[in-house]
């Protein structure tokens, strides 16, 4: 299938990642301003620094841009140290566990020494265990002080009934966050994606209780995550991740390995949309044979719909830009839970959000009262 280049995509972060040299050569002060704001919002400042460094582009950046990229990189480096410290704690926590404990997503990119993980920020540690051992893993984490904070009863039920993970856990002293998963995709979904092959093919980390997904499975997971999720606020980061992950997986294994992993996980459709999107958005040349092997599992209507939404989402001036956020949200939720559940969920969430806003506002007032200096009002 012939890919049409996305001529209208103006997102500054994507443009920078696509062709950093060209961006630097052509950027106006307004382009740089926009790039800085978007990169900060997408948590991509550190990744920008890491992208420029090996290509000797740092010296070509305006001073202010260089300093902000550097700020993000410094933060990511600190996060790396914190990750290692936290993993040492988790090693003890899972000592003697006789089931696979697989670290996935951002933390796997870091520990797997992927190039693109340099400067990359991740929000928490994502841990995947087989469903049969989920309760044991949760108990171990809770015993070690990783607890659930500030979650409504509805949200807890949501996680337990429809999601593929426990509500986020936070260590009560260190503040480290862990998402414990038993699947890579919500159990309420009509899609029957399998997680077992990913766990079976995971590669153990040396001298550790933990393992990492094989490269091809990391890509499958990222593709599933991107195309079945409802959130669009970190979309650019996800797209950039996927592109760089693809390039590195191809170096470590091959495109064929990605297709095989997709077949094993029954995630051919997601991987097809991902590869198609990479070809279209980043002009990557994906072997036609591999795409053809996956195509029968995907729908051309859905592929075009995804492209349309991405084009709108990545283009702030686009006519359907705001609408596309809502459509992306609905699309992701529908894939996860089906229409009836989605309707129920939407109404329940709207009510909860209203209640939460009032509660937050009251709490803010209370906290303000308590932190008011003793001499307040004296003039």
């Amino acid at each position: 299938m012939k890919a049409q280049p996305p001529t209208q995509i103006s997102d500054p972060c994507l443009r920078f990642f696509q062709q950093p040299k060209a961006f630097i050569a052509q950027a106006s002060h307004a382009d740089w301003t926009l790039l800085l704001q978007q990169s900060r919002d997408q948590a991509l400042l550190g990744s920008m620094y890491a992208l420029c460094q090996p290509q000797q582009l740092l010296a070509l950046l305006p001073r202010a841009v260089h300093d902000h990229f550097w700020s993000g990189f410094v933060y990511a480096e600190k996060q790396k140290v914190t990750l290692v410290q936290e993993l040492l704690e988790l090693e003890q926590c899972f000592a003697g566990a006789n089931y696979p404990c697989v670290l996935v997503k951002g933390c796997a990119y870091r520990l797997g020494l992927y190039q693109f993980a340099k400067g990359r920020i991740f929000s928490d540690i994502d841990l995947l265990v087989p469903a049969a051992h989920f309760a044991d893993a949760l108990a171990r984490l809770q015993d070690a002080g990783y607890l659930e904070f500030e979650i409504s009863d509805y949200d807890r039920r949501y996680y337990q009934r429809w999601s593929h993970q426990n509500p986020p856990l936070t260590h009560f002293l260190r503040g480290a966050g862990i998402d414990l998963h038993h699947h890579i995709f919500p159990v309420s979904s009509r899609e029957k994606i399998l997680v077992e092959p990913l766990i079976a093919a995971a590669e153990p980390l040396a001298h550790s209780m933990f393992s990492l997904p094989a490269p091809a499975y990391l890509f499958v997971h990222a593709a599933v995550h991107l195309f079945y999720q409802e959130e669009s606020h970190k979309l650019v980061k996800d797209l950039v991740d996927l592109q760089q992950l693809y390039l590195e997986v191809c170096q470590r294994q091959s495109v064929t390995a990605i297709v095989e992993a997709a077949e094993q996980c029954q995630a051919q459709a997601a991987v097809y949309y991902a590869l198609d999107m990479l070809q279209w958005l980043f002009q990557l040349s994906i072997p036609a044979a591999e795409l053809q092997a996956l195509q029968p599992f995907a729908s051309d209507r859905r592929r075009r719909y995804i492209r349309f939404l991405l084009q709108q989402l990545l283009q702030k001036q686009a006519f359907w830009h705001r609408c596309a956020h809502l459509l992306w949200f609905i699309r992701g939720h529908l894939l996860k839970m089906g229409p009836a559940t989605l309707l129920y969920h939407t109404v329940a969430k709207a009510l909860l959000q209203f209640k939460l806003n009032r509660k937050t506002s009251k709490e803010q007032q209370l906290a303000d009262e308590q932190t008011r200096p003793q001499d307040a009002g004296q003039l």
Binding site: H29, R40, S71, V74, P373, G377
Partner: protein, 290 residues
């Protein structure tokens, strides 16, 4: 010439080392800001500079609430009623700097310069740091910052971050009584810190806003209303380093760079605790020490 409509104000604050663009639909924000910052530091948008932080300070017209929200991209900082917008804008800009910059090691401290050397005044809230900072500036010292002591890890110099000195509650009275001719600006009642007011930097301070300075001394001030006289206590280098780290926004984030920068500072600058009740005595003691 600024062309700002009432409904949609957009302006740039050319502070150093970070520029802010404020996009607001508050009818009065710009006029309040222009009382605190001199005209050459304020401009409309398109003047050829890269903006570090683009801030939205807007009221959602669809919302029932009358509050304005300070946002940096998708990050929300705080809601505020119109009457306290100036304080929340200033706090919000402080929050941008303390949350998102790691180019400099940033201490929560006031910094002032005299004779080409600078004095660092770190202190927790309530210790009278800003009041002392305001007094020193009005006594002729050059203000580098009353909030962010930015240390450049490459040079060890302090980079100015000149903004209005924020004063609250009794400090406002103290400054007004001591310097009756000084005009305090932007008085905002009933904020969560009480009454806030701002002392614009002196011309000397604005003029030196890009001139970095070598640090010479660290003093932890503590105003004690019920004590007597002045107590000065020299700090051990190790204690000084630890206390500076505690008063830093990003010491641990900077890792080895943070450690080396702070070690150098603690080795080069003597550190003191200065507890005082009488301001005149304290100033004499400070000049003698300097």
């Amino acid at each position: 010439m600024l062309s700002l409509t009432q409904q949609n104000q957009q302006f740039v604050l050319h502070t150093q080392p970070f520029r802010f663009q404020i996009r607001s639909n508050s009818p009065s924000l710009f006029s309040q800001v222009s009382q605190l910052y001199p005209a050459p530091l304020l401009s409309d948008n398109d003047d050829g500079n890269i903006i570090d932080f683009v801030v939205d300070f807007k009221r959602n017209i669809l919302s029932l609430s009358q509050d304005y929200a300070f946002r940096l991209g998708s990050q929300h900082f705080r809601f505020t009623p119109l009457a306290q917008q100036l304080s929340v804008l200033e706090w919000g800009m402080n929050w941008c700097i303390s949350s998102y910059q790691n180019r400099y090691l940033c201490l929560h401290a006031a910094v002032l310069e005299q004779d080409g050397r600078c004095l660092i005044l770190p202190a927790p809230p309530g210790s009278g740091k800003s009041t002392l900072c305001a007094i020193l500036m009005l006594e002729g010292w050059r203000l580098l910052s009353d909030e962010h002591c930015l240390i450049d890890p490459h040079s060890g110099l302090i980079v100015p971050c000149v903004r209005p000195v924020s004063l609250k509650n009794r400090s406002l009275t103290v400054i007004q009584q001591r310097y009756p001719s000084v005009q305090l600006q932007g008085i905002q009642q009933n904020t969560f810190k009480g009454t806030m007011g701002y002392l614009p930097p002196t011309a000397l301070s604005w003029d030196g806003r890009i001139d970095a300075v070598r640090p010479a001394m660290v003093i932890f001030p503590k105003y004690q209303p019920d004590g007597s006289g002045v107590q000065l206590e020299a700090m051990a280098q190790s204690t000084l380093m630890l206390e500076l780290a505690i008063n830093s926004f990003n010491y641990s984030t900077l890792g080895q760079n943070g450690f080396e920068t702070l070690s150098l500072l603690a080795a080069q600058c003597p550190g003191y605790r200065l507890t005082y009740t009488d301001t005149e005595q304290m100033l004499q003691q400070l000049q003698a020490l300097w």
